[in-house]
């Protein structure tokens, strides 16, 4: 299996807070390889979420670069990168509330251009994360937090993209569910994807058996 490499180079990022420019990322350098699960840990405000947002192409790179197998996001285009290279799982799930679990996954399959047999594929993906058919056909707002996060993971798997990032994916879940969700991410990593989880919990990092990278004051150690 070939190794894909996600490389972050000299990433600088600033945002304005009440007219004052705050440097969030101060020159982050990191390399992430496929087949591994990474846990970026750090305190609140250390820049973890900003880094993961840039990796997920949810924000524009101000300075520095992020490349995948040598191709820059700038070159690929943020939208294209989101569509074909990366998927993100949020702490608050960010599912479309008026859709069922299956429909949420189907939407992602459509965007990924996998609309043939999307219904069965969606059921299949949901089953892989522990959501049965009956649950799949319920509106997501009627599912538990753990189930919703599983749906979000299934949706992230729909595009079969090489990078999956997750921002505090177990922040709203109980300990038992947390372990099951982390196991799912581990499975994805084992399947050859680059999985990057942002968490402030060392326990999460330890349980996931992940490569831990510490973020502190805008720099990644």
């Amino acid at each position: 299996m070939t190794t894909n490499i996600l490389e972050v180079t000299d990433l600088l990022h600033t945002y304005k807070d009440g007219g004052e420019a705050v440097k969030v990322l101060k020159g982050v350098n990191a390399t992430f390889e496929s087949g591994n699960m990474y846990a970026i840990v750090g305190e609140s405000g250390s820049g973890k979420t900003t880094l993961i947002s840039l990796i997920a192409a949810l924000d524009k790179i101000q300075s520095g670069d992020i490349t995948f197998d040598g191709k820059s996001i700038k070159e690929i285009g943020e939208n294209e990168f989101r569509l074909k290279y990366v998927n993100i799982v949020f702490q608050s799930f960010n599912l479309i509330r008026y859709m069922t679990a299956r429909e949420n996954v189907e939407i992602a399959l459509d965007f990924a251009g996998k609309s043939d047999g999307e219904k069965d594929t969606a059921y299949c993906l949901l089953e892989r994360v522990g959501i049965n058919r009956s649950e799949s056909d319920r509106l997501v707002q009627k599912l538990s937090g753990g189930q919703q996060q599983r749906v979000a993971i299934a949706r992230a798997m729909a595009g079969d993209v090489p990078i999956v990032v997750a921002d505090e994916p177990t922040g709203n879940l109980d300990e038992n569910t947390e372990m099951k969700i982390l196991a799912l991410f581990k499975k994805l990593a084992d399947a050859g994807k680059i999985v990057i989880i942002v968490t402030h919990s060392k326990k999460v990092a330890r349980h996931a058996n992940a490569i831990v990278k510490r973020m502190e004051r805008g720099l990644l150690e």
Binding site: S53, L58, N94, L95, M99
Partner: protein
């Protein structure tokens, strides 16, 4: 991607029924108001157009009384005539040739003119009516020496004593009955007032036309009194005693009016001209009265007048003027034009209100869905695809609302339109009462001549055929037929979708211009 967009739109519509119903309800109400406005406007516009073409507009060629008065005033000021002296002015005449030449225009649908004169019956009796009684009384008073010997030929005289300004004694002194029989020459039987308003019909024979010289139509009363029949000949002495004219009866008319017309004889202009003074008749350039041009459309009046003035620049020099009578048109379409104008105002207000309300609703809707948009963007959706989804949702709901409004708006429009029209007619009637002291009376009443007929006599002038009167008696359009046409629906749909797009673009762009992270963190 497109299928995905439609699918998301449908799910959004069907899974949020309360939002969809509220949106559809608001659009339905708006669509009804807009469609009602459009249809009322179209209907009133159509009614006005119909009125324009049916009334056609009438242009009168007549003496320029204002100019004549001014001329008189100037003559007084220059000392040419004594100030305060009651001097009549010579009314300028219009020859048949000029009248015909002006009528030769694309704007003229039809035209009429005539000659009013009088003659004395020779060998037949007249039907007794108010006029004959008055004549008898007058003759009796004159026999008793109450009047001077001023009697003279009445009808047919071309001197206007400006009777409106004369005092009664002076008017009576100069009064003359002329002949005892009214001669009414007109270029077409169809333009006789009684024929136009349906009170006169042919009882026997046929009607005259321009080819039936020396022929006459008499009344049924006159025929019965004298045991006459179609084909008989009657004789008339000219009122200046210059000769006798024989006329063949070609038709008998009956009228539902009182017997005031019983002694009136109708004939073509050439025949009537024989009863003018010998001098006027012999030179062949006799004048005609009541020259009226009926236009194909009232809108052409100004153009037609300009055309006629260019063709005959001497009209102004001869103190003749071409003028329009818009009173009938205004009376007829005034209320409905007000309704149309009101509908336009309402329509504009509704459109502006629709834009604001729908924009507000869409803005609230879009703000509510910013996370959804952020999620879709994070999944790789293109911005246009997201705008498209919201647009499809709105268009679907709007189409439903618009289609439903097609069924209901006509009732609303009919009710509103009729109420507005009734109000306008009531206002118009009230105004008319205030102005004229009696309801339903047309302003002006007397047509362009103001009731002044040539000559001071009761003879031929008594039975004038003032077609202008019939127009000014036109009643206001008192009903409005509101039915939406496909064009009205097209306007509604185009307007509605236009409003939706305008209402959608700004709030949507305001959100999706941000990066997904900004939207998802709610920091936009």
């Amino acid at each position: 991607m497109f299928k995905n967009m439609i699918k998301r739109a449908w799910l959004s519509i069907s899974r949020k029924p309360s939002r969809t119903v509220i949106l559809a309800l608001i659009m339905f109400v708006m669509a009804n108001a807009v469609l009602a406005g459009i249809t009322i406007r179209s209907a009133s516009s159509a009614s006005v157009e119909y009125a324009k073409s049916s009334l056609g507009g009438t242009v009168y060629l007549q003496a320029d009384i204002t100019q004549l008065r001014e001329n008189m005033q100037q003559r007084e000021e220059s000392g040419e005539i004594d100030r305060g002296a009651r001097v009549g002015f010579t009314r300028p005449g219009v020859t048949a040739d000029v009248a015909n030449d002006i009528a030769d225009s694309d704007y003229v649908k039809d035209y009429t003119y005539g000659i009013e004169s009088s003659a004395n019956a020779d060998g037949f009796e007249l039907v007794e009516n108010d006029e004959t009684k008055m004549r008898a009384e007058f003759e009796q008073m004159r026999g008793q020496g109450n009047f001077g010997p001023n009697g003279g030929a009445g009808g047919g005289s071309e001197t206007d004593s400006d009777s409106a300004e004369s005092d009664s004694a002076e008017a009576t002194q100069s009064f003359s009955f002329g002949g005892d029989t009214a001669i009414n020459g007109i270029n077409s039987y169809a333009f006789i007032d009684g024929v136009k308003n349906g009170t006169m019909t042919i009882a026997d024979g046929e009607y005259f036309d321009e080819t039936t010289d020396d022929s006459v139509m008499i009344s049924e009363d006159l025929r019965i009194l004298n045991s006459l029949k179609v084909g008989d000949t009657i004789k008339l002495k000219k009122s200046d005693d210059s000769g006798t004219v024989s006329l063949k009866i070609i038709g008998v008319y009956d009228t539902t009016d009182d017997n005031s017309l019983s002694n009136t004889l109708y004939m073509n202009v050439a025949t009537a001209a024989k009863f003018l003074s010998t001098e006027s008749y012999n030179d062949g350039k006799y004048n005609v009265d009541n020259v009226q041009y009926f236009l194909t459309n009232a809108e052409y009046a100004d153009t037609f007048i300009d055309e006629a003035k260019a063709k005959h620049p001497e009209l102004a020099e001869n103190n003749l003027t071409l003028s329009t009578d818009t009173s009938a048109y205004e009376q007829m379409v005034g209320p409905i034009e007000s309704v149309g104008s009101f509908a336009t105002t309402i329509l504009l207000i509704v459109i502006i209100a629709s834009i604001l309300i729908i924009a507000l609703m869409v803005t609230i809707n879009i703000k509510d869905r910013r996370y959804e948009m952020g999620v879709l963007l994070s999944l790789g959706a293109k911005k246009l695809n997201i705008i498209g989804q919201v647009l499809v949702e709105l268009v679907f709901v709007a189409t439903l609302a618009f289609v439903l409004s097609i069924g209901t708006s006509s009732f609303l429009a009919q009710a509103v339109g009729s109420t507005l029209l009734d109000t306008q007619i009531a206002n118009s009637t009230q105004q008319s009462e205030q102005n004229f002291g009696r309801p339903g009376t047309a302003p002006g009443g007397g047509g362009p001549d103001g009731g002044v007929t040539s000559g001071g006599g009761f003879g031929g002038g008594m039975q004038s055929f003032t077609a202008g009167n019939s127009n000014s008696n036109a009643e206001a359009i008192d009903s409005i037929d509101i039915s939406a046409s496909p064009a009205d629906y097209a306007i509604l749909f185009a307007l509605g979708y236009g409003v939706l797009i305008i209402a959608l673009i700004l709030p949507t762009i305001n959100i999706i211009r941000f990066e997904p992270k900004t939207i998802l963190t709610g920091k936009e």
